[in-house]
Amino acid sequence: MELKLTGIRKHFGEKEVLRGCGFTFQQGKIYGLLGRNGAGKTTLFNCLTDEVPPDGGTAELVLDDGTRRALAPDDMGYVFATPILPDFLTGYEFVRFYMDVNAACIRDGRSADDYFDMVQIAPEDRHRLIKGYSHGMKNKVQMLCFLIARPPVILLDEPLTSFDVVVALEIKQLLRQIKHEHIIVFSTHILQLATDLCDEIAVLHEGMLSQLDHALLHSGDFEAQLIELLKDEGEA
C-alpha cells in the first residue's frame, strides 16, 4: 500500500504555503516530515484530513493489488500537536465511546482498560474528567484513537514532545511495532528523534516535498546538510 500525493496546493491570502506537493509514502515505513517553522507541515496534514480544503491536487491510496482510491477521512488517524479532546468526558468514557464507533476495528477483543494499559494511564486517572488531564495524558488518549481504529495512514503532528522519556520510548517502540501495517508520517523539529525513529525523511521546503537521501540519515553530517537544505535562498 502507498499514499500518493500529487500537486497538493494551498494558499492563505497572498501566501502560497503548498506549491504542488508530490510524494509517495510507503506502507511499513515511518516518515519524518521536517521543515522550518511555517513551512506548511500542519497545513499539509490538515489538507489530507479534510480539516482545510486544499486548493488543488490529489491524495490517493494505492493498494497492494494496484487499485487506487481517493484518500478518505476514515483512512487516517491524526494526532494533533495540541491535544484536542472533549473536556466533559472522562478518559475512560472517551475511549469507550471511540471503541463503540469503531467496533469493527477492535482486535483481539481488547477492552478499554487494555488500551489504557498500553499507554500506561493509571487506573485512577482513567475515570477523571479529561479537563483535568495533563498535556501528556491528553496526548496519550489521542494516541489511543489510532491504536483502536488502526487506520491505514497515521499522521502525527509533533507527537512525542510532551511525553516523559519513559513513555516517549514506549510510544516509539509501539510505532515500530505497528508500522508494518501502516503508513506513518510524523512531523518534528527534533532531529535526534527523526534519525532514531524514522526510516525515511521527507523535507517540506518552499512549499514542495522532497525525500532526503536515505544514506544521509545515518551519516555524521546529517544535521549540517539538512540545515543547509532548509536555509532560505537569501540565507544560503
Binding site: 480539516e51 477521512p73 473536556d87 466533559f88 468526558l89 468514557e93 465511546f97
Partner: protein, 542 residues
C-alpha cells in the same frame, strides 16, 4: 512619569490601530481594502493612532454633557415642573442627584487603579514596567481630561439653574474629591485584605442601589431632603474638608502608597478584563457554558442508564448529563416565570372576574402574541452554545465526527433532548393556562384550551428545530464563542422581526394551530435534509 505617559499613549494607539485593521480587514467586501502589509505602514498607523486619540477625546468631551443632561438636568426639570414645591430648588436638586450618582455610584462603583485593561496587562505583566510610574501616568491620563471636561458643564449647569458659578465649581470639587477618595478607599482595602471590592457583585449592587435610590427616590416621593444635603455639601467648611480629604487621597494613591510594585500585578485577574471582546478572548464568557469538575459526578441510576447506551447515544447522553446545570438553569428560570404568570392570571381573576372569564374562553386569540413569547424564551440558543464549546469545538476537528450520518444522528438526538427542555417550559405555560381556565370558570376540557396548548408545544418544537438547524448549517461560533457568521445573525434577526410582527396578527384558533402544525412539520423535514447535505461542509470550526 512624562516618559511613561508617552509610552502609554503609543501603546494605546498601536493596540487600537492594529485591532481596527484586523477587524476592518475581516469585513465583507470592504475588508479587501486592507492588504496584509497594512500593519507595516507605520506612518499611516501613526496618523490613524492620532486620529483615534482625537476621536476618543471628542467622545469623552461629548459624553459629559450627555450624561448630565440625561441623568440630572432632565430629571430635575421634569421633577421641578411636576412638583411645585421644588420650584426654585433646581440646583439643590441637581447637586444632591450629582452627589449620589457621581460621587457615590460613579466614584465608589469604579476603580481605575483596579480596572483590568489589555494595556495594563501589557505594561505590568509582559513589559514589567514600574507599577508606581504606570499608575501615576495612567491616573493622570484618566483623570486630567475627565475633570477638565466636567468643569465647564458643571459651571453651565449652575448658570442654567440660576445658581452662583462658585456653586458649580464646588460641585466639581466634590466630584474630583470623591473620585480620589474612592480610588484611595479601594486601594486601602486591597492593601489590607487582598480583595478588590469593585469585583464583588454584592458590593456593586449595594453601590448601585444606594446611588440610584438616593438620587431619585426622595424627590419622586416629594421629599425635600436635597435642600439639607445641598446646604451641607455647599457649606465652605464641608467643601474645604472634602477638598482636603481628596488631596490627601490623591497623595496616597499617587505617591504615598508603597506597595504597587509588589501587590498590583497580583490584582490583574484576566477574568475582569474591561472589554467584552477581551473577556471572550480570555475565556470568562465561557463560564456560563463550561463544565466543572463537580459536574463529573453522576448518580448510580444515571450511570446504569448510560451503560446501556452506545456510540453517539452514549456521547450525547453524557453531554446532557454533565451539562444539566448549565442547560437546566434557564429552564428553571422559565418555569418560575410561568408560575409568576399564573399568579398574575389569578390576580386578574380576583380583580377583574369578567375580563378573566372572557380571556379564558378565548385563549387562542392570544396565540399570535405567544409566537413572540415562545421565541424569546426558548433555551435552544444556550444549549447550542454549550454543545459547541464543550463538545463540538473539540470533536469537529476529527473527520469522523463530520460525516453526514454522524451529524444527522447527533442532530436527531439533540433535537429530541432540547425539545424536551423547551417542551417543559411550554408544558408549564399550558398548565398555567389550564389553571387560569379552571379558576375563571371556563373549564379545562375545551377545544380552545386544547388548541392553545397544542400551538404552544408546536412553537416550542419549532424554535428548538430552528436554533439547532441554524447551528448545524452555519456553525456560527468561533473558538472564542463569538458569533462570526453574518448570515446566521441576519436570519436570527429576521426570525425575531417575523415573530415580533406576529404580535400584529389577529388570526387565532384552529386555523392558526393548523398552519403552525404544517409549518413545523415542513420546517423539521427541511432541517433534516439541509443538515444531512449541507452540514458536513458547514458544520466545522471557523
Amino acid at each position: 512619569m512624562r516618559q511613561m505617559v508617552g509610552q502609554i499613549i503609543k501603546m494605546r494607539g498601536a493596540l487600537w490601530v492594529n485591532a481596527f485593521l484586523y477587524y476592518f480587514s475581516r469585513l465583507w467586501m470592504v475588508g479587501r481594502l486592507v492588504p496584509p502589509t497594512a500593519y507595516a505602514g507605520y506612518r499611516a498607523k501613526k496618523a490613524l493612532s492620532a486620529a483615534a486619540v482625537a476621536v476618543r477625546q471628542i467622545i469623552d468631551l461629548c459624553g459629559k454633557p450627555l450624561y448630565l443632561l440625561t441623568f440630572l438636568l432632565l430629571p430635575v426639570i421634569l421633577l421641578a415642573g411636576s412638583r411645585p414645591q421644588f420650584a426654585g430648588q433646581e440646583f439643590s436638586l441637581f447637586l444632591s442627584m450629582l452627589f449620589f450618582l457621581s460621587c457615590i455610584l460613579g466614584a465608589f462603583g469604579d476603580s481605575h487603579i483596579f480596572n483590568v485593561t489589555r494595556e495594563k496587562v501589557a505594561f505590568l505583566k509582559y513589559l514589567h514596567a514600574d507599577a508606581r510610574s504606570y499608575i501615576q501616568a495612567s491616573l493622570a491620563l484618566r483623570y486630567v481630561p475627565f475633570f477638565s471636561y466636567y468643569l465647564p458643564f458643571l459651571l453651565l449647569a449652575a448658570w442654567l439653574f440660576g445658581a452662583p458659578l462658585w456653586q458649580g465649581a464646588a460641585a466639581w470639587v466634590l466630584l474630583a474629591a470623591f473620585r480620589m477618595m474612592s480610588e484611595a478607599f479601594h486601594l486601602f482595602v486591597f492593601d489590607r485584605t487582598g480583595r478588590v471590592l469593585v469585583r464583588s457583585t454584592g458590593y456593586a449592587w449595594l453601590v448601585i442601589a444606594v446611588g440610584l435610590a438616593g438620587a431619585y427616590v426622595p424627590p419622586l416621593l416629594g421629599l425635600d431632603w436635597h435642600m439639607g444635603l445641598a446646604a451641607f455639601l455647599l457649606h465652605p467648611a464641608s467643601i474645604s474638608a472634602f477638598a482636603a480629604a481628596g488631596a490627601l487621597c490623591l497623595y496616597y494613591i499617587a505617591a504615598g502608597y508603597p506597595g504597587y510594585a509588589r501587590k498590583l500585578p497580583r490584582s490583574l485577574d484576566l477574568n475582569f478584563l474591561l472589554s467584552s471582546m477581551l473577556k471572550t478572548a480570555s475565556g470568562s464568557s465561557f463560564k456560563e457554558v463550561e463544565v466543572r469538575e463537580a459536574d463529573a459526578a453522576l448518580s448510580p441510576g444515571e450511570l446504569a442508564k448510560l451503560q446501556r447506551l452506545k456510540g453517539y447515544d452514549y456521547l450525547n447522553a453524557l453531554f446532557f448529563a454533565r451539562h444539566r446545570r448549565q442547560l437546566l438553569r434557564p429552564v428553571w428560570y422559565r418555569l418560575a416565570a410561568a408560575a409568576l404568570a399564573f399568579a398574575a392570571a389569578a390576580a386578574l381573576r380576583i380583580s377583574s372576574p369578567e375580563l378573566a372569564a372572557a380571556l379564558s374562553r378565548n385563549l387562542t386569540a392570544m396565540l399570535p402574541s405567544f409566537v413572540f413569547i415562545m421565541y424569546s424564551i426558548t433555551v435552544a440558543d444556550k444549549s447550542c452554545r454549550a454543545m459547541f464549546y464543550n463538545c463540538d469545538k473539540d470533536l469537529l476537528r476529527y473527520a469522523w465526527y463530520r460525516k453526514p450520518k454522524v451529524i444527522l444522528r447527533s442532530f436527531g438526538i439533540r433535537l429530541r433532548r432540547v425539545a424536551l427542555y423547551n417542551g417543559l417550559v411550554a408544558g408549564a405555560l399550558c398548565l398555567a393556562a389550564a389553571g387560569f381556565c379552571l379558576i375563571s370558570g371556563a373549564g379545562i376540557f375545551t377545544a380552545d384550551l386544547a388548541l392553545f396548548c397544542a400551538a404552544l408545544l408546536l412553537l416550542s418544537l419549532l424554535f428548538t428545530a430552528h436554533h439547532l438547524c441554524l447551528y448545524y448549517i452555519f456553525q456560527p461560533y468561533s473558538e472564542s464563542l463569538k458569533t462570526k457568521n453574518p448570515l446566521f445573525s441576519g436570519i436570527h434577526a429576521a426570525m425575531y422581526l417575523l415573530c415580533f410582527a406576529c404580535l400584529q396578527i389577529e388570526v387565532g384558533g384552529s386555523f392558526f394551530t393548523a398552519v403552525l402544525l404544517g409549518f413545523t412539520v415542513l420546517y423539521i423535514a427541511a432541517a433534516l435534509v439541509l443538515v444531512y447535505f449541507r452540514a458536513p461542509r458547514s458544520f466545522r470550526i471557523k
